[in-house]
């Protein structure tokens, strides 16, 4: 029986024989599980095996792409032929042919060693986790009236073979948890969310790191503050943003502008080598950090991942690239080409994005703020190409005379990221925890982000409250 990687290689070589400049076959064979638990009941529990391949061919200066679940050698060759024809169908319409940065082809097998393969954990145990989480939230606060717990995990192997000789077999796995808790009091209904996960640990992540008790305490504290919170004031105020919000700002507001495919249509265009933030501010995307949700050894083009200092000591220093944009910009291929799965073509995506720690103490960050806000936890965020960002905040406090005051509820912050960067007044020195999450840029990617507490002066950040 021919191994899958060998079939992919034969099909990639066939692409070259047709005349393709580049032929890449990515395949995956994964077990995936999903479950949803609501208020003491299992709403759905689903198991699946997914096998499929993504065929990408560069011919005549444009891409042709086909996805298929037919992994036979004949099926793969037929898809390669289709992708080749698709590429040629557009080649005449393109003025500037697409070229790829050269890389050194690699042959490697990357094993993923987890304590407990999550796809082999008995569903009873997963349901018991959700049930315990439900009971724990109710124990912590009797006003908790509903819960939705979504668990998902995957485990298996991804394969990449190209006509250039790259051949990779990569162990792949993840666990992911999303929780929404609803609480009621005197006719008021509100909710808070929590999201966590790991792509380096298996089920043991829930046994040792994110136990039901740990997750319940975090999400219940948020919903308590939502119930107790007052309405924020509208306008611009000085503020201190906590690690979760700083991470979201790094990812949404700045990281996307540093993705080379978007940089060319963003305010970062033409700013390489220039100061875009005060000295001492450094922001990084790193695909190599231990246990990061976005960590991989190679990207989906077979390029080794790397640490990319997007902003180094205040200067726009580098961009995230795939091979196409590395060639186009003259920058190194940074290992940021990622595809959600075999149904998608790789595109430039972040991995683990964060601000580096600074040298300012907590006391100094809050000192001298007569009135402002301390924003702790994010309810979602979104950026636009004019560097406009919006971050929903589900946990925040007033700062009054340098001290934490009342909690506030249902607030969001916004601004123009390129303006806000220049108004950073202090970067905290404390260690921080990365938050795990998902990014949607047309496809889903598992990512993490974080950073130390950062203080902004009054002006660049607007608070969307009610007058």
């Amino acid at each position: 029986m021919i191994r899958l990687i060998d079939k992919l290689q034969k099909a990639a070589d066939y692409g070259q024989s047709l005349g393709a400049t580049y032929a890449e076959l990515r395949a995956e064979s994964l077990n995936r599980n999903n479950s949803q638990y609501e208020d003491g009941r299992v709403r759905s529990i689903s198991q699946r095996i997914e096998e499929g391949a993504a065929i990408r061919v560069l011919a005549g200066g444009t891409w042709g792409f086909v996805s298929t679940s037919d992994l036979s050698i004949d099926g793969l060759k037929s898809s390669v032929k289709d992708a080749y024809s698709l590429a040629l169908s557009a080649s005449k319409a393109r003025n500037q042919p697409i070229e790829l940065a050269e890389i050194k082809p690699v042959q490697d097998k990357v094993l993923l060693k987890v304590g407990r393969n999550p796809t082999e954990v008995d569903p009873d145990e997963k349901i018991a986790y959700a049930a315990k989480l439900w009971k724990e939230t109710q124990r912590l606060d009797s006003r908790v009236s509903a819960i939705t717990v979504r668990q998902r995990d995957g485990y298996g192997t991804k394969y990449i073979a190209t006509n250039e000789g790259t051949q990779l077999e990569i162990g792949f796995g993840h666990v992911h948890l999303w929780v929404w808790v609803t609480a009621k009091e005197n006719g008021k209904i509100t909710g808070s969310r929590d999201e966590t996960g790991s792509s380096s640990l298996g089920w043991e992540y829930y046994e040792h790191n994110q136990t039901p008790e740990v997750v319940a305490e975090r999400v219940v504290n948020r919903v308590k503050r939502q119930l107790a919170g007052s309405t924020p004031k509208p306008g611009s105020f000085p503020c201190v943003l906590g690690p979760n919000v700083v991470g979201t700002l790094a990812h949404e507001a700045l990281g996307h502008l540093g993705e080379a495919d978007l940089t060319l249509q963003s305010p970062f265009n033409g700013k390489m080598g220039q100061y875009i933030a005060p000295k001492g501010v450094t922001m990084v995307d790193d695909g190599t950090i231990k246990d990061g949700m976005g960590t991989d050894k190679y990207d989906d083009e077979g390029v080794p991942t790397s640490r990319v200092e997007l902003i180094k000591d205040g200067i726009l220093h580098a961009l995230l690239t795939d091979r196409e944009y590395a060639h186009r910009t003259g920058l190194p291929a940074s290992g940021n080409a990622r595809a959600q799965d075999y149904r998608y073509s790789p595109m430039i995506r972040m991995r683990n994005t964060f601000f580096e720690r600074g040298d300012v103490s907590d006391d100094e960050l809050f000192e001298g703020i007569d009135f402002g806000y301390y924003c702790l936890s994010v309810a979602g965020g979104q950026a636009q190409m004019n560097a406009s960002f919006q971050v929903g905040i589900q946990e925040a406090y007033e700062i009054v005379n340098g001290e934490l005051g009342n909690s506030v509820t249902n607030m969001s912050i916004s601004g123009i990221a390129t303006d806000a960067l220049l108004q950073i007044e202090g970067v905290g020195k404390d260690e921080f925890r990365f938050e795990e999450g998902r990014c949607g840029k047309g496809q889903e990617a598992l990512i993490s982000d974080g950073g130390p507490r950062i203080r902004f002066g009054s002006g660049p950040i607007t608070f969307g409250g009610k007058a």
Partner: protein, 458 residues
């Protein structure tokens, strides 16, 4: 093409027959969808793609325990293995005392006209040509514009549903789309990205509209205007309104949230919950609607459901499971994520009837206000309280009856349940937009009064 539909239905029925031997109840939903597209990136065609999204979702019930499984391989032997996995999942699940049954057979409406034979047979080169046309038109009209993203494509597919209550039904659908997203450099950096999409279930696309409408918005965005923190008049186009409704209002219309006491509208049936000038209908059979199909994710016939009539709450949206728990009847709004097995409730085509005056005429009467064509961050709204705090982007300043430029960083904050009571005029410019809720909104621009806007400090 005919064989595709029959083959899927036969597979579904065979799988149900197999599953009946091993479980109390079973249902099978099979989809086989294809898409061909040409994609523009930075003013050049970057990629031509052909993708297939095939999959079967199986739900089995054993002793009132529900389990599901998915496979992307549509072969009888694999489907039978998936039945076994669904049964194993059911056995591992907890008993649900509220579980009753899968849907029963009912009469289906006349099959909606959402199939065009030309689309599955279209050569990918046609979509390349359409994309090239849009690139050339844009260059001719304004060579300074950055054609950030865009393209054209077609989709077609078949769905089959069968269950142990003798429902066995199939459907088919096609569609084409073209879209363009532009930015252009300005003194302060870059305009917001503005975009237009045209979608049609038959092979008819208005490429001129896509290019011209996007150019109109990006040209307007080139001029920056100052905003003012105030409570004032704001016009939302239907696309921006959809985002606010999807995340801050529609959750309260969904039956599962009503049963779980998560809906602020749970006890408001028949009450005035919106301005009397507003009516919303969910129409799963709307002619040419993006979300139009014969049946929903549980094989139940799609239908037309008035949600709000002249401000009064008329119905919630239901799927079979939550309707049975509530003691009511499904409205055919089951939506299914094949892969995760989760069955939710979602709107199809939200139809908002238009008014008499054009958006231009409405603007001409406004001394000071804003036009909101896009929203950032609506998904971070509190889906239970309806509180929202979002950025209008693109947001345009209206002064003395004219649009004067784009306001950067204009926030809007308030509560969606209060917001929709403040509608004061419905425009005549009814258009279809894709909805963040998965379907579409077919509606006009709507003018609201007393809306809190927060301008960034200058």
């Amino acid at each position: 093409m005919k064989e595709n539909r029959q083959t899927l239905l036969a597979l579904a029925e065979k799988t149900v027959a197999y599953g009946m031997k091993h479980s109390d109840q079973i249902e099978v939903l099979i989809r086989n969808n294809f898409e061909i597209s040409a994609e523009i990136i930075l003013g050049e065609i970057n990629r031509t793609s052909k993708s297939q999204e095939a999959g079967a979702s199986i739900r089995c019930v054993v002793d009132q325990r529900l389990g599901s499984a998915f496979t992307n391989r549509l072969e009888q032997s694999i489907l039978e293995k998936s039945v076994k996995r669904a049964i194993a999942a059911a056995k591992a699940s907890t008993s649900d005392s509220t579980w009753q049954d899968f849907p029963q057979p009912k009469k289906y409406p006349k099959e909606p006209k959402v199939w065009d034979n030309k689309i599955p047979e279209t050569d990918p080169g046609v979509f390349v040509d359409m994309s090239t046309t849009m690139i050339q038109q844009t260059k001719q009209r304004d060579p300074e514009i950055i054609f950030g993203e865009g393209g054209a494509g077609g989709f077609f597919g078949w769905t089959a549903y069968a269950n142990s209550n003798d429902i066995a039904i199939s459907d088919r659908g096609t569609g084409v789309y073209a879209y363009a997203a532009f930015v252009t450099p300005i003194e302060s950096g870059m305009t917001p990205m503005v975009w237009t999409i045209d979608v049609n279930r038959n092979f008819q696309l208005d490429l001129d509209y896509v290019v011209e409408n996007t150019l109109k918005d990006v040209h307007l965005a080139k001029n920056s205007a100052k905003g003012k923190t105030e409570t004032g008049t704001v016009i939302f186009n239907a696309s921006a309104l959809d985002k606010l409704l999807t995340y801050a209002f529609m959750p309260a219309i969904k039956g599962d949230n009503v049963v779980r006491e998560k809906s602020m509208l749970a006890d408001k049936m028949g009450d005035m919950v919106a301005s009397k000038i507003l009516s919303f209908t969910d129409d799963g059979l709307k002619e040419n609607g993006y979300a139009t199909e014969l049946f929903d994710g549980e094989g139940v016939a799609r239908q037309k459901t008035p949600l709000i009539e002249k401000g009064k709450l008329r119905s919630f949206l239901w799927n079979n499971y939550w309707a049975q728990r509530h003691g009511g009847i499904t409205t055919g709004n089951a939506t299914r994520n094949l892969r995760t097995g989760v069955l939710n409730i979602a709107p199809t085509n939200i139809v908002v009837p238009g008014g008499k005056r054009s958006q231009e005429d409405m603007i001409s009467d406004i001394k000071s206000g804003y036009l909101i064509n896009g929203l950032q961050g609506a998904h971070s709204s509190n889906q239970e309280t309806g509180d929202y705090s979002v950025v209008g982007n693109p947001a345009f300043r209206i002064k003395d009856g004219k649009l004067v430029g784009a306001v950067h960083g204009l926030m809007l904050a308030g509560n969606a349940f209060e917001f929709i009571k403040k509608a004061e005029e419905v425009g005549s410019d009814v258009r279809a937009y894709l909805s963040d809720g998965g379907g579409s909104i077919i509606g006009p621009s709507i003018q609201f009064r007393n809306i809190q806007v927060v301008a960034k400090a200058e």
